[in-house]
Symmetry: C2
Subunit: 450 residues, 2 copies
Amino acid sequence: MSFSIKQTWIECIGCGFQAELLQERKFKCPKCGNLFDIKHNLDLLEMYPAGWTQKFDARARRTDLGKTDNPLFHSGVWRFKEWIMPYLPTNDIVTLGEGNVPITKAGKNLLEWIGGDIDLHIIQEGMTPTGSFKDFGGTVMMSLAKTMGIKTVCCASTGDTSAMAAAYAAKAGIECVVILPKGLVTPAQIAQPLVHGALVIMLPGDFDDCMRVQLELTTNHGVFPANSINPSRIEGHQATVFLLAQHFGWELPDWIAAPVGNGSNVSSIGKGLRLIQEQLPNIGSSNILGCQSRAANPLARSWNLANNGRWDEGVDRRNFWLEKYVDIECGTTTATAARIGAPVSRDKVMREIALSRGAMTVAQEEDLNQAVFVCGRDGLFVCPQTGIALAGVKNAVKNGWIKAGDRVAVVSTANGLKFTESASENPDRRMIDSSDCSVESVLDLISAYS
Amino acid sequence: MSFSIKQTWIECIGCGFQAELLQERKFKCPKCGNLFDIKHNLDLLEMYPAGWTQKFDARARRTDLGKTDNPLFHSGVWRFKEWIMPYLPTNDIVTLGEGNVPITKAGKNLLEWIGGDIDLHIIQEGMTPTGSFKDFGGTVMMSLAKTMGIKTVCCASTGDTSAMAAAYAAKAGIECVVILPKGLVTPAQIAQPLVHGALVIMLPGDFDDCMRVQLELTTNHGVFPANSINPSRIEGHQATVFLLAQHFGWELPDWIAAPVGNGSNVSSIGKGLRLIQEQLPNIGSSNILGCQSRAANPLARSWNLANNGRWDEGVDRRNFWLEKYVDIECGTTTATAARIGAPVSRDKVMREIALSRGAMTVAQEEDLNQAVFVCGRDGLFVCPQTGIALAGVKNAVKNGWIKAGDRVAVVSTANGLKFTESASENPDRRMIDSSDCSVESVLDLISAYS
């Protein structure tokens, strides 16, 4: 037993039932079936605000990293270990050096496209070992698996989650099983789990069949889940908030915008905001903007029905929102990684949007694709899911939620290199054929088209 | 005129002819046709060793980056501005925040595969805005173009260079033309220039036709080249050496290994080593290991013929090497980005291998592919060109050039996500079909295969 229930435990978000994290394998409340939160007793650490920021700044400032193996210096997630998994033995940390991602100011094309006079920044969580934000949570999930003595982890994702699970399992020396629908995944989507040595099982069915098998394996056969019902994932994703606060000199931005698929990102941002506001009382506050595509908008659609524009009164309308909520059948979208009609973390998303006095918004397909191309014109290659969040910010500026002068941070969730097909198909692209291989023909084309 | 010939100039590596950098458009010596070096008069800066390291460490230590736009803090290349392009106006810097790449210790599978008891580190230059090491040089090339008032840059690369050129040109507001062979490039290879708004011209020929047109555009029509005949690229790539030295607390590793295609990487590493050894006399020294695939080995093949294993006597055998050198027709390799039979920077590579008392080696195709998979088992997804360098290190350990206890840094040149097809085809992969979608079948497969 590496930590006691007085230090870290799990607690049902529905009925408050508590249990020991290290004994848990099903990640579903046995009383009411709802999701678990991980809770830590930070009072035991007896730290004061300036103590936290000095400690975290000192870790970030280390320049001779070749002289230490300590993950608290190498990882931008574990830099904040005391806020993420304080009682985990440092020796059990499984890291690939994730989390030191650039946070960059929006370029001029993007600012012009969004409109308004806002201070816009993008945290590039695709600049991670496996190319997506999943690594922030993955390093914590796999470290916990190591502490618990887990032999096999399993997931049914076809994209970012399977890449993350396979890479971190390889690093940990833990077996990883990835369940994919045969014939429905591209070679690019299976390359990462294969390279990282996962056992890839192809099912003669669709993604829902894979997910059903995965959940049954977890619930009835003790197979440790790598997907986001595992609350340790959420702990790591909180680093998004901590990194942003540190970047701005320990101030929170006015808004944090993120795309919502299964909802782990918004769930974590909200949890991280509540934690940092408790530990650093003068840090200010952020509203969360949850963004969904038109094709996969169960949370944004029901939020619109329930709130009718009355988003900013500070009233917790979660019950009314839940009444209006229904799972949906997804339409077509280039933002395939967020194409989810029944988000696993639904109730956590609702909680965090409400508590942060945030909002939900729907990105039109045309807008999210345009956002990718507009960022490209600033030299930044983002994924279509980031396009959802950027189109959402544009909406929120237009309808006055985000105001002139507001500082806004957008979570860019994956590397554009994972989504090259849709990026090539933009109607504004400039690609022309030369009639022959002469310099004259090429010069003619350059003067005609540039 | 933003800097004078007394501060920065170009000098032919063959005959020593000097000219003004800002006036140059052809990047070819008018006297003897050889390549140019960029030279700076660093004495004008009047700095002493501890002054340099204190300055560069202070820039790396900044944690509240949201409060400054200064690229000397944001970019891991421009952190070393005084060593890279000291007299360039800081306002002209075109940066995408490149260069803050992780340098990670080799995992246990890789160490076991390479053998020997070496201290192996990998600098992950695929963790850059466009996913390859080209960004290190690209930021300097495009900044110079901006200073010079260039309106259009052009290149004929089908992969990493075109992505880099398009992204940095977009950021600079400069037109970018990319010339590609129609039907011979994948959608993934053209996605990046298209997203970044480059004018993509498809020629009805092969890559050699594209390159010929590109060179004629530069030589006869004043089109600014983005490829590595442009010596400003080399200046930026020197940051590899500076980052490694800083990472190890201002010590050089015993060896720096890199793949060699056109040769810009080895050219820059050597130039950077000579510079840092002059400025920090106590920093030690590194031997450069230049690595080529069996399919594209003109430099390694001729080095073997000329040196006959007598690599370590410190004798400069460049003339003999050049005598043995012939361009080759390339064979087939998964390391397509280094598949070059007539390297543009040939003479610079020869100079730097000789001056660093380094060596060249040939990676077998099987070994370079195996290296990718072995890294994958440590949770790291590298490109096949990195596989060449890792297989080269394995050779050098086997034949005793690299000795037990040596510290070795390998340059990982691109993100594995750019090379998913070859990565999926590894014979050691584990992918199996389930006969049906039942949990029982999947459980049977898990127990049989894991």
